[in-house]
Amino acid sequence: MELSTIHGLRDLLANREISAEELTNQALEKIEKIDDKIKAFVTVTKDEAIQVAREIDQKRSKGESLGPLAGIPMALKDNMCTEDIKTTCSSKILYNFIPPYSAKVYEKLLGAGSILLGKTNMDEFAMGSSTENSGFFPTCNPWDLNCVPGGSSGGSAAAVASGEAVFALGSDTGGSIRQPASFCGVVGLKPTYGAVSRYGLIAYASSLDQIGPFTRDVTDCALVMNAITGHDSFDSTSALVDYPDYTRFLVNDIKDMRIGIPREYFGEGIEPEVEAKIREAINKLEELGAVVEECSLPHTQYALPAYYIIAPAECSSNLARYDGVRYGLRVEDADDIVSMFSRTRDQGFGIEVKRRIMLGTYALSSGYYDAYYLKALKVRNLVKQDFDKAFEKFDCLITPTAPSVAFEFGSKADTIAMYKQDVCTIPINLAGIPALSLPYGLVNNMPVGLQFVGKAFGEGNLLRVAYTLEQNSDQTRLEPSLEGVK
């Protein structure tokens, strides 16, 4: 069976060829059948899902108006708060945390009528590029169970790629939507910083975090963007701009579109077969009428080190609240308050989280602030200026999403090697601009991701170029055989 899309299912639902309850049950059955192998979900909200589906069906039968995503089953990364539903960030420190409130995106999706199937696995507190850093268990890549799904939103990517959920939301701080989308062969978009409310998204690095969709094609990406973007008065960093109907960018035409190829994103560090696929896609776009030209983003090489100052600095502060006082894990046999703090945090956090807290604490310490944090902010500004300059000339840029296809578990034990996974995605977060990862063919039978980068609030151009390529290529709609899980 071909994997279903939102736009395909929407018609079936509207024509009552299938009910929301049937669709939800199908998804839940699939999860039951294959998720012991994929392990995309931390929590499955079976009862809640069926109840919401029934309500949608009732509304439909009464002829009441329904949201644009009515009856579509989806999944949320487990760092988005869901009222009365456990939200763990895949961390032992929040293993029992049940939020009394919902993230704005969840409210919006509920309002649009979509149905929550469950919460997906992730690298603990969104720190990682393989989902191996989950405090509970790793998630497997549906294309090859020996490989990682990417991260940190690995659970969401795997759930969509395997057909467990029709779409999912992830969060992207340095590539955490785009790299797993690339590894799992699905569409992933990191919107412009401020386009999607962060209210209720458990923070990793506040100035970089952004929520975005995983979908099976570009049309679905636009549909989910319609549902989740918009100004939110509960998020001071939410942008007060006019948000378009993203489906109007689904145009099969890129004639005269100016596309830049930043040379710093190719060559050394990028697997040659991956690069070859990207070049193939670029040629295809040229054939379709785009004007392609090489360009330079000279400060690219400094983005990764700057990120590993800024993100840990913010995380060291954001994660300080997990102290065992009010919720989550608390060691019970502490001698005093200080030992309660330190032992709770020692037991609750995994090694990568601890590493980043230490890094960030150091970078902000008096005497080091100017040399590290302040300097990183300056680099961030230079990286942003690179992009500003490029977008004076180009409508969008194209790079690989990740330097390689999905790798095997344990193969990136070296921390720096793992950090380099995000070399193509991190600069985009520093600049606060949008980027979309589109699947483009396979290398060694694993999906390759093509990254389209746009200027702030330029998601439209990304959807347009991705849609055009999708309509004119057989390389973008990929489906794993799921042989290993059958």
Binding site: T87, L94, R326, S366
Partner: protein, 482 residues
């Protein structure tokens, strides 16, 4: 003290009286069952974000303007990171290098001398929750309870330059600051309720030296009295230390009100590294000059200006004008009274003498007293119209102070109306002259003083209700006739 001089700077926290907290919609109301004025935001639950209450910004700018600060065009919030269970996010959202207001000053008057005290900065921040330990301290307790009703209540911190030289100056500064904040109505500024808090940085140096000595920070100053006592104690402690050849250690000390001493809390080495950095969840503030101008125009007359006006235009003595303007409530009471009964000195005298005497005796704030400006004005009119004497008025005043009753009603009820009827007084005068021949003899013999005794007797006979002017006149006439 002699060869040493003290160098003191105060850090004052003022709780702003906005209706809601600084970053969420919870009420700031004092009291309430523990953890009832809370929400996910002020509880710092995972995923929540702050949104600045614009009223906080407005009040902070007003306060900054009132203490002569320049208001920043560009300001931002920063995170002050430290672990403590009263802090829900393990950081306090505060302001570090770009405070909302800087470079201010205010003038204090100590022993008739005016001195200008610099104000380094004023910044906005949030309050923390409250811990109740099941023991003395957090480390010696078996358990502690946390109440986060106060978490996120808006504060401004006002930091003075080290321009203060004595405990007396520090107290005068704090009183002036309190009065100003009270006038602009952005805080209740009550030390007992914690809406005004003060820490003191204290050092000493040889007189004439320009260098600053090593300072200590003294905390836990919960009343004006403790501010003064603690500073006096700490200055003497430092002098004794230096005299004994010891060095002052930079440290934080706490004032023990019962023992009357300051005790070491933590040394410089144990001080926190707060790892300040810009709050990424709040966008920087760009303050419009128009708005600042508008707020400046909207400021009420401040204590200093009001004092000058009462001296110049109302002819009040400087001391009286200073006392009346030292508290907004007292100044308002004065204003309202003279508005109805424009006898400035008369009103001022009644406030300075009778009202303050009663307030002090009862240890009350004027807002708690029942007397109204309308009542006082009416009473003064009654004196003027000779309906009651000044002496009787004191009784009436006390009654008004305690019951808030109308002065006419009091006078009527107690039969205190002044007797000015010459016939009625004449008969008493004749009676007194007849009963006191000795005094009359003395008067005749030239002892003018004895007339006082006779007046006293007449007043006694009339229970003080006789009009003294009429009594004097009739008595003199009668005596001269004899």
């Amino acid at each position: 003290m002699g060869q040493y001089e003290a160098v003191i700077g105060l850090e004052v926290h003022v709780e702003l009286k906005t209706k809601t907290k600084i970053f969420c919609g919870c009420p700031t109301e004092f009291g309430g069952e523990p953890n009832t004025h809370v929400c996910p935001i002020c509880l710092g639950l995972p995923g929540v974000l702050p949104v600045l209450n614009k009223k906080v910004l407005e009040y902070a700018i007003k306060a900054g303007l009132a203490i002569n600060c320049s208001i920043a065009e560009f300001s931002k919030f920063d995170r002050k990171n430290y672990f403590y269970p009263d802090l829900t996010k393990a950081f306090q959202t505060s302001q570090y290098d770009l405070p909302i207001a800087e470079h201010g000053h205010l003038d204090i008057n100590v022993n008739g001398e005016i001195k200008r005290i610099g104000i380094t900065r004023l910044h906005m921040e949030e309050d923390a929750g409250k811990l109740v330990h099941q023991g003395d301290t957090i480390s010696s307790s078996f358990s502690s309870l946390a109440d986060y009703n106060r978490a996120g209540v808006p504060l401004v911190e006002i930091v003075s330059e080290p321009d203060l030289r004595s405990a007396e100056e520090a107290k005068a500064y704090l009183e002036m600051l309190k009065a100003i904040i009270e006038y602009i109505d952005v805080s209740d500024v009550k030390m007992e309720q914690g809406s005004l808090r003060c820490d003191a940085n204290i050092s000493i140096r040889p007189v004439g030296s320009k260098e600053l000595g090593t300072r200590t920070e003294v905390k836990n100053l919960n009343s004006f009295r403790s501010v003064q006592r603690a500073i006096e104690y700490e200055i003497q402690r430092q002098i004794d230390q230096v005299e004994e050849g010891e060095r002052i250690i930079q440290e934080t000390r706490t004032w023990d009100e019962n023992k009357g001493v300051t005790l070491s809390l933590r040394s410089k080495e144990e001080a926190h590294d707060y790892r300040y950095f810009p709050e990424p969840d709040l966008t920087p503030l760009v303050i419009s000059r128009d708005w600042v101008a508008e707020l400046k125009n909207g400021l009420p007359e401040l204590p200093e200006a009001k004092k000058a006006r009462l001296i110049a235009e109302h002819g009040l003595p400087e001391y009286d004008a200073g006392v009346i303007t030292s508290s907004r409530a007292l100044a308002e009471f004065y204003d309202k009274t003279v508005c109805i009964h424009p006898d400035y000195k008369g009103v001022s005298n009644w406030i300075m003498v009778e009202l303050l005497k009663l307030l002090n005796a009862e240890n009350m704030e004027i807002s708690e007293a029942k007397i109204s400006p309308e009542g006082l004005a009416k009473m003064l009119t009654m004196i003027e119209k000779n309906i009651i004497s000044g002496k009787i008025a004191k009784q009436v005043f006390e009654e008004m102070f305690n019951t808030g009753k109308d002065p006419e009603a009091i006078v009527k009820e107690k039969g205190l109306v002044q007797i000015s009827d010459e016939g009625q007084i004449n008969s008493i005068v004749e009676q007194v002259i007849a009963n006191n021949p000795k005094s009359v003899e003395d008067f005749k013999a030239g002892k003018e003083k004895s007339i006082g005794f006779l007046v006293g007797q007449i007043m006694k006979e009339t229970k003080g209700q006789a009009n003294p002017g009429v009594v004097n006149k009739l008595l003199k006439d009668k005596l001269n006739e004899l």
